[in-house]
Symmetry: C2
Subunit: 186 residues, 2 copies
Amino acid sequence: MATRQLTDFEHVLLGMICATPSSGYDLKGRFATTPLGVYQPSSGALYPALRRLERKGLIRSEAASAPAVRAARRRHVYEPTAPGRAAHAGWVCMPVEAATVSRDLGLHLMRFVMMEPLLPRAEVLQFVCSLRDALAASVADLERFVATSSFDNRHAGLALDHGVAIHRASLEWAEQTIATLTPVPR
Amino acid sequence: MATRQLTDFEHVLLGMICATPSSGYDLKGRFATTPLGVYQPSSGALYPALRRLERKGLIRSEAASAPAVRAARRRHVYEPTAPGRAAHAGWVCMPVEAATVSRDLGLHLMRFVMMEPLLPRAEVLQFVCSLRDALAASVADLERFVATSSFDNRHAGLALDHGVAIHRASLEWAEQTIATLTPVPR
DNA sequence: ATCCGCATGTAACCCGTTACATGATTCT
DNA sequence: AGAATCATGTAACGGGTTACATGCGGAT
């Protein structure tokens, strides 16, 4: 049934549709106006991706929707199916892999946003803790690398410092977020 | 002549070859052992990319090199041609575009590392200053967005905070790096 | 009648991934 | 001879980008 793993992009689309049923155009607009959406998907990426999700039975186009205020070509508003919601729920709470935390940080943040209405506080905390641990490991790795290597290139050392700095910043954010979300013990 | 713009990946490869002439295998190894090289290019990406660079006349395979210590199949060691060095020099000092600074930050850092042996101090400073300005603009944009929007989703606000935090960290790095590299005025 | 804006769709092209194949050399 | 290591290469496949095409309604 689940023909193949979903793309990151497909997961994000599915998540947005789970949050609020949308047409392709809606989604495009939301990418355009969202600050994190530095990425503006092209029609050639968006519509085929929606079709794939539909073909896999994860979303369904709610036919005949009100054709917007100033009507146009018939809109296809997609909404999640039960398997779609399940797939999305599985995706948002996937554990953070330490090895790729740096590469996937943006995706993890997206999942963090999307898990709010889905997961109880405890599971959210668990997720952010796993993110914190992965980031801490990353920082440690980088610092070990900095310590054990000498550079012929001065800029290389500075670039490494940058890596340490932004990982630290992410780590601090995670710690602060955990504090913010932890219910006061009384 | 310049058939088409180079890919980011091709630019990086060209830069690495300009720094030290290398074979595909060498490059692969360097990606694997470098911390910033979270990305490990596959053979199917690497070798075709080298071929493309060669076909465009930017690199040339220095035939018949010593077949390494414990020999193997004939290595193709590539070295930059004059147009290749020129293309690379043009790439490293391209100005930072404010609109995409977030997306391209990793690339900018690579360029920063690669420009060390190529550019005089003054031009390096100019580059880092343009990076700083772009980051400052990014931070300002994000903060404006935070200020002017209210969220139904609490996590969205927290994720925004993360964005602000890491951009700030990058900005601070840029400022500190400028200070480090600026020659003391007397 | 036409042009503009909403909304979806499609084709050519490029490139990266996965997975496999192949050469050449040394070690056992 | 066979296994291991170094080193390059290739084919199938998937998916994104660019650029263009198409429908349909309202405004001039």
